[in-house]
């Protein structure tokens, strides 16, 4: 990423996050203005982290670690923000990894899954555009054969990103479609094949088994595929994200997370807790509806923006 690009995306991220961190910032400012850090204040700080969806356990640990070093000392809101941002960035740094297309695979197969409405199809459209921009040939497989007009939605993205879409009829077998798509991608020597799947709640055992079937069928053509298995979730999600990651990971061995809709007021703070617990890389974040609104996840920028800090 060039410097100007980086500036641009930071600005955009901050634009989205600034709305979400405004309240957060005020909160910390409000409680910590020229105050001594004591037990009651640690508890309130914990509350504010909980309000950002970090979850009870992670919020408590972060608040405690601040207390461990600064207890009984005067502390300013700016110091609190800085300290927490550093702490959060340290947790997120190991999971911030840019999505990389492996040219060794022809094609590099990416399976995209998640619960309904998380933004799978949009994410695929945006990633396809990026891959095309980087000079890769891309093919999309419309394996969401359940939801009405899901195929048409992916086809529209295919047109925007200028890449072919392999599609069957609604109600067709998703695994069979994925197989056909891989066959075609191999024949056409495509660099990247992205498979869109139907949204599914992770507690539906039958639907999860169907997802696993897609993986197994794809393996018949390429034992190493799918090379990436992405779980897409949106920033409004609360603590159920833990259960989602756990089940999807167990079923299809998730290789990375994509967090979407970070342009709203939702903080996506659960990412911090997920990073601690699962250590799965966060490969991209969505910051808008446009085809260019997809970014690599930058731990430092995310943490600083979350805490309302400027560069």
């Amino acid at each position: 990423m060039s410097d100007t690009d980086k500036k641009k995306w930071l600005g955009r991220l901050r634009h989205g996050l600034s709305k979400s961190s405004a309240k957060f910032k005020d909160g910390i400012g409000g409680i910590f203005d020229k105050r001594q850090l004591d037990g009651a204040l640690v508890e309130e700080l914990e509350d504010f982290l909980i309000s950002a969806d970090l979850g009870v356990a992670t919020a408590a640990r972060l608040a405690q670690s601040l207390a461990d070093t600064r207890f009984n000392r005067e502390i300013t809101p700016a110091e609190v923000r800085q300290a927490l941002a550093d702490e959060i960035a340290a947790i997120l740094a190991p999971v911030a990894r840019a999505f990389a297309v492996d040219k060794a695979h022809k094609p590099h197969v990416v399976l995209v899954c998640g619960v309904n409405g998380g933004g799978k199809t949009t994410t695929i459209g945006k990633l396809a555009k990026q891959f095309r921009g980087a000079g890769h040939t891309v093919m999309l497989a419309a394996a969401d054969t359940f939801r009405a007009a899901a195929i048409e939605q992916l086809q529209a993205w295919g047109e925007r990103a200028d890449c072919p879409v392999v599609a069957g009829a609604t109600g067709a077998d998703a695994a069979g479609l994925a197989y056909d798509a891989l066959l075609r991608a191999q024949a056409e020597n495509t660099d990247v094949l992205m498979i869109d799947t139907a949204g599914r709640l992770h507690n539906r055992a039958d639907l999860m088994a169907e997802l696993r079937k897609i993986v197994q069928v794809v393996k018949k053509l390429d034992a190493t595929a799918p090379h990436d298995r992405l779980l897409v979730m949106d920033a409004t999600i609360g603590q159920n994200a833990h259960a989602q990651v756990e089940v999807f990971r167990d079923m299809v061995d998730i290789t990375g997370l994509v967090m979407t809709k970070l342009d709203g007021t939702a903080k996506g703070g659960v990412v911090v807790a997920l990073a601690e617990k699962f250590a799965l890389p966060v490969l991209a974040i969505g910051v808008g509806e446009g085809i260019d609104d997809m970014r690599a996840f930058d731990a430092q920028a995310f943490a600083r923006s979350l805490m309302g800090l400027e560069d």
């Binding site: 309904n116 939605q153 159920n240």
Partner: protein, 460 residues
């Protein structure tokens, strides 16, 4: 992933003798646990705080009912309070639809129902579900129209769902803007003599002032009798912001909670209800078009508290198990008589549901067992094997598993194509379930205070 709140409280209060009234210390100890439970269930923090002030006042000094622990007593008080906040009556076993279920269609037809919400919350699917419900249940003539010109193929999605539900949709004119579509839809509905016009809108962020103004303009033009905020049960702390903003900027008249069939505890429902003051009217409970139910405050309150969704369990079971069988099973559960035959029967039913973990999650007190089952990797195939094991037993063995010695177990293993270890495992889990059933049975008599657990009996 979460232990049941009662069992957690049970541990805390284990050393405590029962006392006449709840002391401040009792209540505070219990509420600390309840607080964590509510936050883990995604109830927004400010809402939790407001609730607790009221609950604390109510709870301190309350007499602990006989045969109830102080922990259970506090949970009951919290539960009843949540039910009231959610708009229900804690004394009623099943919440009446009037508490927030009924969709207001009063007015000169066609009346408009406007659906709004964030991207991906389930608006389009909910439109079709509501259209089908109004058509089937209320015998209304319904027209649906999509004003979503942003998401690719969104209008097509509603048209296809309309076909599936056999509810007409407004023809799509390429390039037409949302406000114009809304006006044309109203005109068409009037010309065709429709009773209700359901308007689907594009997903929008509540901070997108341009799109929020557009939604407000649409509302101004069609004067809907209902403006429903469609929100996801998986939503976290942001629910507060979301409901406040949609209510302030567009003016909502109710909330539809979607994806209630997931295993999220759904604390967002409580947050949205509390901050917007608007009732939750409907909930989406599945991917099929008939999976839209009237909101049930008692059921959701139980889930938020991690008490198990007993009503949901009963309803789901009743869909599959024949009514009579269900009553027999319930009677057996209450009596604590649970044989291997019953287990085989249950396994068969479970297999039909295809969703063992979700199903067990609905049961009270199954928190721990649920995680054990997750470890044991229970899936439909596994269930079929377990069923085969039981079916390979003689009638006598099934009613009296004590006679199962080594040679019988070997015979059963080869008869069912499994191993002796698997037979042993099955018997072990049978014993666990039987013990659990006995416990539930005992509780089902006097222990749970009224309102804490909806009764098991109305199964049909």
């Amino acid at each position: 992933m979460f232990d049941s709140l009662t069992s957690r409280l049970g541990d805390i209060f284990a050393g405590l003798k029962r006392r006449g009234a709840l002391s401040e210390a009792d209540v505070d100890t219990a509420l600390r646990q309840v607080r964590v439970a509510l936050l883990e269930a995604d109830v927004a923090l400010p809402v939790v705080k407001d609730l607790f002030a009221a609950i604390r006042e109510e709870a301190v000094g309350q007499q602990v009912l006989r045969s109830v622990t102080p922990g259970q007593m506090v949970v009951k008080i919290v539960h009843d309070h949540l039910v009231r906040v959610l708009g229900g009556d804690p004394a009623a076993a099943k919440q009446p639809a009037a508490a927030g279920g009924a969709i207001n269609l009063a007015g000169v037809p066609p009346v408009a129902v406007l659906m709004v919400g964030l991207q991906g919350s389930g608006k389009t699917t909910t439109c079709a579900k509501l259209g089908l419900k109004l058509k089937r249940r209320d015998k209304k003539k319904v027209l649906m129209a999509s004003l979503d010109v942003r998401r690719p193929a969104a209008q097509q999605q509603l048209a296809l769902l309309g076909e599936q539900a056999d509810v007409p949709t407004l023809s799509v004119v390429l390039g037409e803007q949302p406000l114009a579509i809304a006006k044309r839809a109203m005109l068409t509905a009037r010309q065709e003599g429709a009773d209700v016009l359901i308007l689907d809108t594009a997903g929008r962020l509540h901070i997108d002032s341009e799109l929020m103004a557009e939604a407000a303009a649409i509302a101004e033009a069609v004067r809907p009798t209902e403006t429903l905020l469609v929100a996801d049960a998986l939503t976290g702390q942001d629910a507060v912001k979301l409901a406040t903003e949609f209510n302030d900027k567009i003016g909502i008249t109710g909330i539809v909670l979607t994806r209630v069939d997931g295993d999220a505890r759904g604390g967002a429902a409580l947050s949205m209800r509390a901050v917007s003051g608007q009732p939750i009217k409907l909930m989406g409970t599945g991917e099929k078009l008939d999976a839209l139910e009237d909101f049930d405050a008692g059921r959701v309150a139980g889930r938020i508290l991690g008490q198990g969704d007993v009503v949901g369990l009963v309803e789901k079971a009743a869909e599959i198990i024949e009514g009579e069988d269900a009553e027999k099973m319930a009677a057996k559960m209450v009596k604590g008589k649970f044989t291997l035959n019953d287990m085989a029967e249950q396994l068969k039913q479970l297999r039909k549901m295809g969703d063992v973990k979700g199903f067990l999650g609905m049961l009270p007190g199954f928190g721990k067992i649920k995680s054990q089952i997750a470890d044991a990797n229970v899936d439909s195939k596994n269930i079929a094997r377990q069923e085969a094991i039981i079916l390979s037993m003689t009638a006598r063995e099934r009613s009296n598993p004590k006679v199962l010695n080594g040679s019988r177990r070997r015979r059963i293993a080869s008869g069912s194509g499994t191993s002796v270890q698997e037979v042993n495992r099955l018997l072990k889990s049978y014993r666990q379930v039987a013990t659990m059933m006995k416990k539930i049975g005992r509780k089902g008599g006097a222990a749970p205070p009224p309102g804490m657990m909806p009764p098991l009996s109305p199964m049909r």
